[in-house]
């Protein structure tokens, strides 16, 4: 049987797309979303004050994303339009996080299968309920998979390591200051330096607020909160020492960049020699295994005799 030149199996194409997206997502810094006693806390190290990774979608719904800014910004704007039109058509209480997660999932999934390049984003849609039982955290990956997370979610950068640290320290019903402490600990590599206050993007969905539950914590309010946590002094100190927009952020970004590209060398080689898919299939996964997503495991990796 003759194959057209440059033929690649659908499995190979999907795998390449997934690898490509994972690499893009792992390049940035992590974002952490977790429940605390009065709602849901979002924490993202972010040197920019204007380009947000965390934002409000609707009264009870917040949004956090990692990956390419232009791509998740489009998702964010689409989500706001979806929420506002539905809230206006029916009632404000009829806009749910689940509906929004489904909209994102279907679009992410479609783009993943239909476009040459999948979106390099990972998104959390969080909804705060009247009680902590009503809270919901949905994590969506680039291929449209939805994960209904319980208590906390971490994504982007070294997501697995962050999630592990988060899992060790997370408790149900923590006060806000404790939750922030847990999030910052999870976001900091062991022995590493915490991001300075000026480079933190922090927001909450506070069920005790009236009307709109989403609130950004900035400036004095954030510093007060950090001082209530045990290591708050260290973070503030870091802010004072570091010139704005300097080393720690860029250093971390560069490091993860390097690890990403070294991990990629195996898979990019395999896609080049697409004829010998058997050998590429047996290649060990990169050391920093990306978070489990849909295609992983399900797809034919060439090792099957069938």
């Amino acid at each position: 049987m003759s194959m057209p030149f440059g033929y690649a199996s659908p499995e190979q194409i999907m795998r390449d797309k997934a690898d490509y997206a994972r690499k893009g997502i792992a390049r940035g810094r992590s974002v952490v979303v977790l429940q605390y006693e009065d709602g849901i806390l979002f924490v993202a190290p972010n040197p920019s004050r204007a380009l947000h990774k965390i934002s409000e979608i609707y009264d009870r719904i917040g949004f956090a994303a990692v990956g390419r800014y232009n791509e998740f910004e489009e998702l964010r704007l689409g989500g706001i339009r979806y929420a506002d039109i539905n809230g206006y058509t029916y009632d404000r209480s009829d806009v749910t996080g689940r509906g929004l997660a489904n909209l994102y999932a279907s679009n992410l999934g479609r783009i993943f299968t239909e476009s040459i390049k999948s979106l390099e984003v990972e998104v959390v849609v969080a909804e705060v309920g009247d009680t902590s039982d009503g809270d919901a955290i949905y994590r969506l990956t680039f291929d449209g998979s939805v994960f209904d997370e319980h208590g906390f979610a971490a994504m982007g950068g070294q997501a697995d390591a962050v999630a592990t640290r988060l899992k060790e320290r997370y408790r149900e019903g923590m006060p806000l200051a404790d939750a922030l402490e847990v999030a910052l600990t999870a976001l900091t590599e062991p022995g590493g330096e915490r991001p300075p206050v000026a480079q933190l993007e922090v927001a909450v969905l506070d069920r005790k607020r009236e009307h709109r539950k989403f609130l950004r914590l900035t400036g004095a309010r954030l510093e007060r909160l950090l001082s209530q946590t045990s290591a708050g002094g260290g973070a503030a100190q870091g802010a004072a020492e570091e010139p704005p927009g300097a080393a720690p952020g860029e250093g971390a970004g560069g490091a993860s960049d390097a690890s990403g590209s070294s991990g990629s060398s195996g898979s990019s080689g395999s896609s080049g020699s697409s004829g010998s898919s058997g050998s590429s299939g047996q290649a060990a996964p990169p050391a920093d295994t990306p978070p489990p997503t849909g295609p992983e495991g399900d797809i034919d990796d060439g090792s099957s005799p069938l």
């Binding site: 204007a50 947000h52 934002s55 409000e56 979608i57 489009e74 998702l75 704007l77 689409g78 706001i80 339009r81 979806y82 506002d84 039109i85 809230g87 206006y88 058509t89 909209l103 279907s106 679009n107 479609r110 783009i111 009307h211 709109r212």
Partner: protein, 282 residues
């Protein structure tokens, strides 16, 4: 324009993509125009008198903010159609609007306006300026002009706290739009003539929020005293005016108990002097 709602609501059909503007109204007009308060159909006969009308709204600035209050009556011709209608609406954290005229159109407009302000805020990551908010409302009123000519008149009063100036600002409108910025105080609705008269005598520059709430309660009582379409405080049913205060801390609506306190105080006074406080002659 045809509605696009038959298409699946998603990002892929491009409808949730760039509309080139952060205006919710423009987005709705493109996506589902039937959801907007109708603006192009013409009624066979004017029905102005048959649908409930909302009446008097008053607003006044105080040192560092603004207060808005509205009575609770809705009328259809000579019938009182509702005793506890709400006509003062929170627009966003730092602004509110009151409506006079056709109640249904006004409520719908208030709902749309709230989404309009919030939509911009979420899309752009900043709140509209106070002038920007006032202008958006003017566009909505102008869009309703056709219906206003058929009797479905709605005229809002807009009040906001301006963080740049640290003061409250009031804007009024007519059926064709506006806005007209008002100094110190304004009133709209059928009882507005009487309320404005009262406010003229009772308004004090640099008064506290507490004093200004009392001033508005007095003005509403004077309006209800002389205008049949304006409802006074309903002591037997415990229905009090709606009072909203906006200052640097944001919008807050006074609770029933708080308003009841002001009303009681005023009624005690009026038992002695039915026409209310007497302004000094010199």
């Amino acid at each position: 324009m045809a509605s696009h709602r038959d298409l699946p609501a998603g990002l892929v059909n491009q409808l949730f993509h760039n509309t080139g503007s952060s205006s919710f109204t423009e987005f709705v007009a493109a996506y589902a125009p039937e959801l907007l308060p109708q603006r192009d159909k013409v009624l066979a006969t004017p029905i102005g008198d048959q649908v409930p009308h909302a009446t008097t709204i008053v607003a006044a600035t105080f040192a560092g903010g603004v207060v808005m209050a509205g009575d609770r009556r809705a009328t259809s011709g000579n019938i009182i159609s509702q005793r506890d209608v709400e006509k003062v609406f929170r627009a966003d954290d730092y602004s509110c609007m009151g409506i006079a005229g056709t109640a249904s159109t006004g409520i719908e407009m208030a709902r749309l306006y709230r989404v309009e302000l919030e939509h911009y805020e979420k899309m752009e990551g900043r709140t509209l300026s106070v002038a920007g908010k006032a202008n958006r409302l003017a566009t909505m009123i102008r869009g309703n002009l056709g219906m206003a000519m058929q009797g479905l008149v709605v005229v809002p009063l807009f009040a906001a706290y301006d963080p740049d100036r640290d003061e409250g600002r009031i804007f009024s409108y007519d059926v064709a739009g506006g806005p007209y910025e008002r100094d110190r105080f304004d009133a709209i609705g059928s009882g507005s003539i009487f309320a404005r008269g009262a406010l003229k005598k009772l308004y004090r520059d640099g008064a506290s929020a507490d004093d200004m709430v009392m001033t508005l309660i007095q003005a509403l009582y004077d309006a209800a005293d002389d205008d049949s379409a304006t409802g006074g405080p309903d002591v037997t049913r415990k229905i009090w005016p709606i009072v909203s205060v906006i200052d640097a801390d944001g919008y807050r609506r006074l609770t029933e108990e708080q308003v009841a306190g002001y009303v009681e105080q005023m009624l005690q006074q009026r038992l002695i002097s039915p026409d209310g406080p007497i302004a000094p002659l010199r």
